[in-house]
């Protein structure tokens, strides 16, 4: 595939690279070992204990990604035509890829569309936040008393690098799969599924079900947060010159795409396992 840029894009990319290199040189002298590593900014709101704590960066980035996605969706709908443009064709390829996957895996026909909605939304959201985690941006760290804002020293803090997002989505997928199963088989048959070979297996089955969201969420979290920390460490070692850019590209784009795909595909697989009769 040949990539071609228009004049405006060339100017933008050149300016971006100049700014990037300038910030890298500027950072070169004053960089010290990142202080607030492993710490995140939290605010407290007057609510019961666990609910009262919020991670504002995650919320802000979620809103940003959501608005990007919704803007794309609206423009997709506005410029919809039977003979697709380049942009529409790209979106259609992604959508139809997931749709074909769902259609292949889900055994019951009336659950194809809901599963497609859930998994596709998961994929788009996680993919975009992982991609954002691959672009150098503002890193918001916390020292003991104040916020530390570093420009271009870290990737953008992606929402999937926060365990809240991943656990929520994994538990949600678990609940959705069981709700679909109850809808399909009825409550009694669904309960029978837990004592499937014989009643001795009941604790095993429950633990198996509970282990699903744990591995499901930690996989994404480990990859994204671990990748972010590794980029930070290696950037410190390489003093923010050319190496981190390559690392950002690798961790953000390659691992991010794979993990988003794996996350949504596992969601499809868990739902389809519950729907099998």
């Amino acid at each position: 595939m040949k990539v071609s840029f228009s004049r405006g894009e060339k100017i933008f990319l050149t300016l971006f690279l100049i700014v990037y290199a300038g910030v890298a040189i500027w950072n070169f002298g004053k960089i010290s070992f990142p202080e607030g590593i492993g710490k995140v900014w939290q605010v407290h709101v007057p609510l019961p204990s666990l609910l009262g704590t919020l991670n504002p960066i995650t919320v802000i980035m979620t809103v940003v990604i959501m608005s990007i996605l919704i803007y794309m969706a609206v423009s997709f709908k506005r410029h919809l035509s039977k003979i697709p443009s380049k942009k529409q064709a790209a979106i259609e390829i992604i959508l139809s890829f997931v749709y074909d996957l769902v259609e292949d895996v889900i055994p019951v026909k009336e659950f194809v569309k809901p599963t497609f909605y859930v998994s596709m939304t998961l994929f788009l959201f996680i993919w975009f936040s992982n991609l954002l985690g691959g672009i150098p941006g503002i890193s918001v760290g916390v020292s003991s008393h104040h916020l530390v804002l570093n420009l271009f020293t870290d990737t953008w803090p992606s929402p999937t690098g926060d365990l809240n997002t991943n656990v929520t989505y994994a538990v949600m997928v678990l609940f959705i799969s069981h709700i679909f199963a109850i809808k399909l088989k009825g409550f009694k048959n669904w309960m029978k599924g837990f004592i499937d070979p014989n009643p001795i297996m009941l604790p095993m089955n429950i633990i198996g079900e509970l282990a699903k969201p744990v591995s499901h969420s930690l996989r994404l979290f480990g990859n994204i947060a671990g990748g972010g920390i590794m980029v930070l460490m290696l950037s410190y070692l390489a003093k923010y010159t050319i190496v981190p850019m390559v690392l950002w590209g690798f961790f953000g784009f390659f691992v991010g795409t794979i993990q988003a795909f794996v996350f949504s595909m596992l969601a499809i697989a868990y739902i389809s396992v519950q729907l099998e009769q």
Partner: protein, 83 residues
């Protein structure tokens, strides 16, 4: 860091060692398993090049499943470190 008594310091050191060992040993199994899965997938791709699309998705899925034990190790390492 604040001043620690000897016992607290030993516990603190043991935490770091324990987390590192848990993560390090826990990563061996998934690595071997994923390698086997990748080998099998590559061999069957070489045998049937027309099945590459299906095989790639299946390979990623099974690697994700094989990875889950490593992720339990990661969970344990975090729990040791942070709580």
């Amino acid at each position: 860091m604040a001043d620690l008594s000897m016992a607290q310091a030993v516990v603190e050191a043991a935490k770091y060692i324990g987390a590192g060992v848990a993560m390090g040993i826990g990563a061996i199994g998934p690595a071997i398993g994923e390698g086997h899965i990748g080998q099998g997938a590559m061999e069957s791709m070489g045998r049937q090049p027309e099945m590459v699309g299906t095989l790639t998705t299946r390979m990623l899925l099974s690697q994700a499943v094989a990875e889950s034990t490593g992720l339990y190790a990661l969970l344990i390492a975090f729990m040791i470190l942070l709580f």
